[in-house]
Symmetry: C2
Subunit: 421 residues, 2 copies
């Protein structure tokens, strides 16, 4: 079965706001074996809306729309769809009662306008809204299903999970999407593609997409199937071949973020970590502490922007800063080792660099970054040069630091004599 | 003039990727006086693509598409549009030469496939691609203009600015968009709406949108006009009325981020700042250092996750932690004052709280946060309770901290006797 998603709302046609509901809806529909073949963002204009629904109904069996169910005169999704399907709108006493009850519970006066939300097209199934006043609607007509959901994401998600998912599952044809996501750090997109193209081009029934995100390359494998076990086995086999081709640059085969992977390794090895950052300004600590439960392994960190604080807080010798410069391999190592000693953590991480756009020199241009990790027995440093803007340079520097930590545990767990770091 | 935007690419119909080019294109078109009335994400399928362009050409005079101009067989935008317009595709020697030249310059071998990118529909104007191999195309037919741009954002943006913008400006009808964006911190969406509805409802020719983002409410004022000075004056007047109604909760009338506003205040007042964070894990320091040139005012920060480091790094007395708890007003003030003393900054900021999802207690549930600022003469503390998930709680805590800093300078600049803090 194929579906289209329509996001309704003139505010979604400005530079300031975008439709994100469709990502959630696509993930849910894919899981139910339904492919999304088009997405439309339509304005609140009645004729434009009606035209958007008419087009979608010409093309697919399932149309899911979000937004335009509110109480104001701008909210015209109900009217446009009812008009298109030739259904009368009548006031539902049950819906009206539910809206009144909600306002009573919140102790607020109901506005006249909210009565509009009780208008239901003939023959429609009302989908109760546990988190707001606008009910959803489920309409069937000539082999087509049209589902209207409220725009606010928390209302839409709750309604989909509680009332739409099981209804759609019942219609399901048995075709399912089987997908994997591998992520790679420390390699470029074309390099990844060159190494794995011989693998994925052998499987034309598996859709392979390679996406470049800051600091990582994502490899998506997707296949639609009615034989899930066979598809799982095929993807497993492709996944193993890719891991063989790319080696330890693959940091997840389950679509995890780098910080999730690092959090797991730290936990598994009962290790603790502390950070000393300069150009990343706290981003590394912030990423490490995004993970719930991070207080088990993250002891603390410093952002030592000034040279004086690099010495005062993590004992970076002033003469190293003077002779090698604040952005140098030596300072990165001193930061990593200093924060480790100060906190007693298993691992210390240090980052120093030029995030730009100012501050670059001919020897150390914008994008020059040094990252180091240190444990009780030594340190490892990596000097890199990133292209791009300030935020991208900072992100990539934090990614390289996390990747150094990940690779550290790779060897801690499975020592390989003679392997390159 | 009205426009539609078509984003081409099956990967944009998965849960993993979304079209962001349309935000840039919308901003540019709006500036040129062109309203975007629909956005479509279409798959790479030939018929589906052709149908998407046909629909758009029925509705508007200007269609801008991104993507599907690459060298692979999946890239079919050229063919679909040529077929729809009844134009033959012929190989352009000029384009072929440019592609060959690019590969020579990069020292790489050109693939056979790249020859596809030299295919140009009859009568089309070729738009040179300074940053990639896929040229753009400008087609005119029966009063309609179709512009095809490459998908990679840095290629699309460069091509639009260099070659599309001036061409579109020449077609312009003189109608322009005049817009303002105000942002508000420390108030809820419905509270903002209630106070300003009497203002904006008086001006039906100005489109007002109120959007809730984490930690702030955004008020967008937009109006299409052929008399820009009059519209500017009207928006100025509405803006002033809104600022009067909402007071100092308005932190920008120019769509700036909170960290940009705080950076400006710190710079204006020649002040320096340092941070001591617990639950936000470095997010506050990271936001302060997003701004280029932040080393002028940001001295440094600590992320003291453990209680021991709160005492060792910023001298929070252990007995305060013991008697009041790590999450308390007293500890927030001690963090702020301690980091100020340790760094010699004008202002110290402290944050402590329970970001969740675990760690909450009946007295201090998830979402409980204490934020404080301190200068040489005293401190100010704010205890808050945020709803939502870990990342939202952390963001709102950092926003409240930045807002405290902003309000500090509000009074520093314009002392108002008896004003409430």
């Amino acid at each position: 079965m194929k579906a289209e998603i329509i996001a309704v709302g003139s505010e979604l046609l400005t530079p300031d706001r975008m439709d994100t509901n469709s990502l959630f809806l696509t993930a849910q529909l894919n899981r139910l074996g339904i492919e999304v073949t088009r997405k439309t963002v339509a304005s609140d204009d009645f004729n434009s809306l009606r035209d958007a629904f008419a087009g979608a109904m010409d093309r697919v069996e399932l149309i899911i729309a979000s937004g335009g169910l509110g109480p104001t005169e701008d909210d015209r999704t109900r009217e446009a769809v009812a008009d298109l399907l030739g259904r009368k709108l009548t006031r539902s006493d049950a819906v009206m009662g539910a809206i009144e009850e909600r306002f009573r519970r919140l102790g607020r006066a109901m506005s006249e306008k909210n009565a509009r939300q009780a208008m239901v097209p003939e023959g429609a199934t009302v989908l109760e809204n546990a988190r707001g006043t606008a009910p959803g609607l489920w309409l069937e007509t000539g082999g087509r299903i049209v589902i209207l959901l409220p725009g606010p994401p928390h209302e839409l998600k709750a309604m989909f999970s509680a009332q739409v998912e099981s209804r759609i599952a019942r219609l399901s044809t048995g075709v399912r999407l089987v997908a994997r996501e591998l992520r790679v750090a420390g390699m470029g997109e074309s390099d990844v593609d060159q190494r794995i193209a011989p693998i994925y081009t052998r499987h034309s029934n598996v859709q392979t997409t390679i996406l470049a995100a800051p600091g990582e390359i994502q490899i998506h494998l997707r296949t639609w199937t009615s034989d899930v076990p066979a598809a799982e086995q095929l993807l497993q086999q492709i996944q193993e071949s890719i891991v063989l081709a790319l080696g330890e640059s693959v940091f997840t085969v389950a679509g995890e973020s780098m910080e999730e992977v690092v959090a797991r390794e730290l936990t598994l090895h009962h290790a603790t970590i502390a950070t000393a950052e300069s150009c990343t300004g706290g981003l590394l600590a912030e990423r490490l502490t995004r993970i719930s439960g991070s207080s088990a392994y993250f002891l603390g960190g410093v952002v030592s922007y000034s040279n004086a604080l690099k010495s005062a807080w993590v004992d970076v010798p002033a003469e190293i800063i003077e002779t090698r410069g604040a952005v140098s391999a030596e300072v990165a190592v001193a930061l990593a080792d200093g924060i480790r000693r100060r906190t007693g953590a298993t691992l210390g991480v240090g980052i120093t660099g030029v995030a730009g756009p100012t501050g670059g020199t001919p020897e150390k241009p914008v994008g020059t970054v040094h990252v180091a990790i240190a444990d009780a027995s030594g340190s490892k440093e990596r000097g890199v040069s990133y292209p791009g803007e300030r935020d991208r340079i900072r992100w990539q520097a934090s990614q390289t630091a996390l990747d150094l930590v990940r690779r550290y545990f790779l060897y801690a767990a499975q020592p390989k004599p003679g392997a390159k770091g």
